[in-house]
Symmetry: D2
Subunit: 158 residues, 4 copies
Amino acid sequence: MAKVGIIYYSRDGNTRKMAHLVAEGVRGEGLEVVVKRVEDTNIDDLLKWEGIIAGSPTYYGGPAAPLKDFFDRSVKYHGQLEGKIGGAFTSSANIGGGNETTILSILQMMLIHGMIIRGTSRGDHYGPVSIESPEERAKKGCEELGARVARLVKRLSE
Amino acid sequence: MAKVGIIYYSRDGNTRKMAHLVAEGVRGEGLEVVVKRVEDTNIDDLLKWEGIIAGSPTYYGGPAAPLKDFFDRSVKYHGQLEGKIGGAFTSSANIGGGNETTILSILQMMLIHGMIIRGTSRGDHYGPVSIESPEERAKKGCEELGARVARLVKRLSE
Amino acid sequence: MAKVGIIYYSRDGNTRKMAHLVAEGVRGEGLEVVVKRVEDTNIDDLLKWEGIIAGSPTYYGGPAAPLKDFFDRSVKYHGQLEGKIGGAFTSSANIGGGNETTILSILQMMLIHGMIIRGTSRGDHYGPVSIESPEERAKKGCEELGARVARLVKRLSE
Amino acid sequence: MAKVGIIYYSRDGNTRKMAHLVAEGVRGEGLEVVVKRVEDTNIDDLLKWEGIIAGSPTYYGGPAAPLKDFFDRSVKYHGQLEGKIGGAFTSSANIGGGNETTILSILQMMLIHGMIIRGTSRGDHYGPVSIESPEERAKKGCEELGARVARLVKRLSE
């Protein structure tokens, strides 16, 4: 059965809240989903999931070091994640505070693994951004990201 | 029938050569492909193609203005390119001369259209880069990009 | 006398408003400033200015084609803008709508010219972003950008 | 006396070699320079240096996690690095392997600190890239980066 894994790093809880909203979007498409703190995630988990969504607060315009470290270690499976579906989200303190570069850094790690990603023509195009705690706009964006990834997982695993 | 369109801007001929190599990769997967100079492309063409691959020389770390202008005008069909498959390539004068940022700028335009893109775990991860005229490494990367996009078009149009 | 030039492209007027707010920041530091639509700017102007600030609406995650075209043509003076001071700003429809990538694309064009740029530890770090018409936060950011570039121009032209 | 600090992470030794070449460029401009592994660097060191240059291998299109972690912890001094001069370099396995995005990720961290950076109109525009061990082209780029940062430190500390 197709599975989606959501990995996040969170200190203030904003990114954690986003992770669970993204999970709702996945569930709404009827797919099984796992939400895990990056500290509790084993890189072996990456092999099991067909969709991988990662979230981080915006730290100096990029993903927090624990998430970067996780992806650095994923080199062990370099080549084996080809064709999996990816997505990214971030929480940030400022509108122009490095949130897009954080999301794009995560998406770039996924592209380098040969993964498949998708943007959206509405809202936050690269992936949902929450300024502080997720309000209505960010909530909707998170659910849409989950649904978007889930639909692509379903189509590609037929 | 599934179709892939390759749009390029070229002044020295290097990006044009790459476009035709990418086309060979598409054809190798049995898909019909059209190669067009951006000056000869109508934005209406975007609606007909299921895969859209765009190439440009690296000009100041981004796509040449005629290609940017083409995508700016594509706003007429904003929302209607959702779910199409994209890819990008560039020719550059220097190794660190802005070629990755050029490819990523093109991929970002596609993500903003809601398109689907895919990286590769081998070689030029975001898309093929040719330093001057495409040599063996870049040739292979171009053909692989064409094949990669074509395979995804086939899987998603089943 | 040290001079700063502000070049912008604007269709809805939001980027134009930002340009004039940035100019106030420059004037507040006692420097002469020129504000010009990119359509009215000659690339020769770049040689006269010690500070160059460029603004654009966010179009598909990058600068509008007329601004990109201007920088593409600036290749005529490649190497002659070394050491000049740069800055960038954008107006956007969405928070995660490609505004950071637009500003970074402009800053990358400046770095490729060998120019000097500076971020800020407060607010919009790479350069001011206005969501639609500039409100209080964006206004302050624009004035600070102008002041920041002007101060650097003064220090480096002593 | 003006000082430049070079921080690097290296596993294969390529980035370490680059760090020492950058240091030669700084010394050639008559400035004192310190070269340190990121593991041996204290974030307090950042306060002492007027120029800060950071290097990393290209890991999934971004800086290695230990360097990212170092910058994440530098938040302790957020606002206190305003106006310092920065620069970045990377070693990579492939031409289009994520090296530009790695350098830009480091430069973005510096911009978010309010630091000043400078590109170059020749060679690797954002910062030197070495494909595997630094050959002649990369060596020259490293020395030029060191000299570029050193000259800016001297001009701004007059």
